[in-house]
């Protein structure tokens, strides 16, 4: 763990954490720590998620009924809370992904107009 690595990490945009959680849970139920690890791993450690911020986000999603929570046993036989994507959450994931794509495309166009012109 070095300073070099930390410099390359970027903070998450507001609201994107929800999207990442939903995407992670599409693969199956998971407990909080596993979700945090999956996000870090998935983004090749680029996204700096303060792990604690996961919990308010998880509860927000429960409240919106996009995910549900149940008691379960983890890989090493410890009791833990497992979060699971609901049908509603699955639908929402599609919507959010679409939104994100649009946003990314739009921002990309603004930031690199010359490249696009050059390409075309």
């Amino acid at each position: 763990m070095s300073t070099r690595e930390r410099k390359q990490r970027i903070e998450l945009l507001q609201g994107t954490l929800d999207l990442l959680i939903l995407r992670t849970l599409r693969l199956g139920p998971a407990h909080g720590h596993a979700i945090a690890k999956a996000i870090e791993f998935g983004s090749a450690d680029v996204l700096q998620v303060e792990q604690g911020s996961l919990y308010p986000a998880l509860h927000r999603l429960i409240k919106r009924r996009w995910i549900s929570v149940e008691e379960g046993t983890s890989e090493n036989n410890r009791r833990a809370k497992f979060y699971r994507l609901t049908a509603r959450g699955r639908r929402q994931l599609v919507i959010e992904t679409g939104k994100w794509d649009k946003l990314a495309t739009a921002i990309g166009r603004i930031l690199q107009p010359s490249e696009q012109e050059a390409e075309s």
Binding site: H33, E50, G52, H59, I62, K63
Partner: protein
Amino acid sequence: MNRRKRMIDGLDQEIHDHIEREVEENLDRGMSPEEARRAALRKFGNVARVKEDTREVWTAVWLEQLVRDLRFGLRTLRKSPGFAVVAIFTLALGIGANTAIFSVVDAVLLRPLPFPQSDRLATIWGTHSKLHETQRPLSYPDVVDLQKMNTVFENVAAYDEGSATLTGPGEALHLNGARVTANMFSLLGVSPILGRGFVPGDDRAGNYAVVLSYGLWESQFHGDPSVIGHSVEIEGRGYTIVGVMPRDFTFPLDSDPPKLWITFSALATPINGQKPESEKRGSHFLAGIARLKPGVTMAQANQDTEMVGRWLTKEHPDTNKYLGLRAMPALHALVGDVQRPLYILLGAVGLVLLIGCANVANLLLARTTGRRREAAIRSALGATRGRIVKQLLVESGLLSLGGGACGLLIAMWGTELFARIGADQIPRLAGAQLDARALLFTFVAAVGTALLFGIAPALHLSRADQTEMLKESGRGTGQSARQNRLRSLLVVSEIALATILVTGAGLLVKSLLNIENVNPGFNPHGVITYTVDLPDSRYPKPEQAARFFRELFERVRAIPGVESTSGTVPLPLSGDVIRTSYEIEGRPLGNHDSPHVHLRAVGLDYFRTMEIPLLQGRVFNAGDTTGKTDLVIVNKKLVEEMFPGEDPIGKRIKPGISTNGKAPWREIVGVVGDVKHQGLDRGDTPECYVPEDQIGFSSMSGVVRSNLEAGSLVPAIRAAAKAIDKDVPIYAVKTMDDYVAQSVTLPRLDSTLLAIFAGLALALALIGVYGVMSYGVAQRTNEIGIRMALGAQRADLLQLVLRQGLGIAVLGVVIGTAGAFGVSQLLAKLLFGVPPGDPLTFAGVSAALVACAMAACYVPARRAMRLDPMTALRHE
């Protein structure tokens, strides 16, 4: 709240586990234990904040906002106490009056009868197709036949009410009682708490059983359970106590509940060898009640009942020629008469509340001027429109809940007052009180009211253009025309509603005055009345009763201070009627039916005591006793109908009444003036008077004209009665004025309340007019200054303002008059001697309202006129 607790439970553990997992991972990566923990904690972030943030997800945000809005609202209202007090007072009047009337309507009209499945109970009435009567009593044989023939009722029962003398160990008591068929209690679904109810054999001749009310059992028998099986004397006959009813049981549901119940067994006994009363089909004295079979509707029940009625007509043409039967819901039968007046009052208070709402809305609108900048700033700082509307509505809610709370005091007082005035005349009114239902009503009314008066100003304020408002100097210039229109519209509707109420009240008051100005045909002032019933068992012969009353009246006449005295049955305006058919000598009936007449038995001196004018012939005198010529005195109406242009004196008529089973021809010896026996608002009917000495009714009401107070007179009368027979109580002591007042209780209550509500409405509407006009003048100060500078005369300015006010007033009155015309049709049935569209009332009310509105405009108009031009010009 529960969900929140469940979700947050275990959060600490989860976070702890999370960090532990991270520590383990770090250890696996080869960190030292301290480093592993530090890294894990760093990566996790602020644990306390995470917990707090997570908890906040589950916090009801709206609740916090509400609390904030409430605090802010309270602060705002405290800053303008004048506004708050006026608004709360207005709303308190409106909501309080509504709650009071609601609790009355609820107690009288809405609540079910106090019997199990009371919606399955039907009242049975007789009808008379020729006389268009629909609420006639039934005869005993008709009830028995209905019970046998019908297919829709589980059971049919009948009852009548009366009073009875109970003689026991102490002084003789005169009590209200009811006679019921033996199946009554089981039909109603109520069992005695002690002993038994009546069983089928109880109504056969020779069986005398009595069921006591809880109250009588407690007061006279000290709540002693061993009274069952004991004997008491009722009307001079021995009855066995078989049961005691529960404390809250009462039937019939009258204002004066019966204290005991007996069956009709005494009526099944032949008296003097005549057919027993219970076998006479022509003798109508019963009220019927029935319980529907499961699945039968009221309409089906009525159809079947009517069919039985038609069958009876066919089987017994001599007695039942025009008679029919009908069934209707028992609750409606009980309260049907007061339904309309009560609903009219409820509608009227509703209108008052609406006017109050309009007024408060107007006040709020006026305040918005000052608050537009506040709203603009809030909106600029990111408050959504919904948020601003919500905040303003919370403020309205505070006002109206405050109004509701104060209104409860008014309601409490109003309900009590209403119950006190009307309890004699309106069934079930005594039960009116502020209970949970009334409180709920108040709350709903308050919330609804807040929405009603708050929504328009709130929307108005939140809609305003931010930038415009921020630019504005906040001095109240640049008022939007829209707001002025809204305010004028509110005032126009206030005036319209007030016009409706004042017109309605005007019609009712005029009708009441008409009723009260009716000449009753006698002089009620200074007359005290009382009633005496003689038990049939000790006074079996008519002559004995007649002798008793003759002696009683003589003794009363001897009391110092008594001017004159006599007796009659039934007493005018008491509600009792003896109605009978009669024939006129020498006029064969042919195909015609015998005419009917109201009959009264009177003692000597009756006409003098009551000051009923003798128009022709003579009154009865002491020589007119049994065995001599049978005599009758008729009223003017009968002469007009039957002897037009003839001299009735000496003619003979035969009213169907007798002492020995054979009605005699009676010679007309006198003609007296018409008396309003049924009610001041009723038409005159043919009446005839017969001497008590020739009839011997065992119940009479004494009338005493004297200058003594009832308090000093009554003991003397009691003593006089006791000197003749110690077991005969006198009861129902009342002045004749009481009877007259009682007969107009309902119309008076109705018109008084409506007049009060109309007055409130008018006052509120005028305040509204005044408010809008003075606000308008204040707003136009600048313009007025310019007009003055350009040479406008003061009179012109006065006119300018008044013209605007006149426009509003006339528009409101025109709309209101149209509305009042519709509403007055609903009042038609309550009006006496006033057509519902009475042009005089309508014109008078319209003119008065316009005049009042102009007066309300005059003050601000004069202010405009008196403005100093220089000040006005400088006014910004």
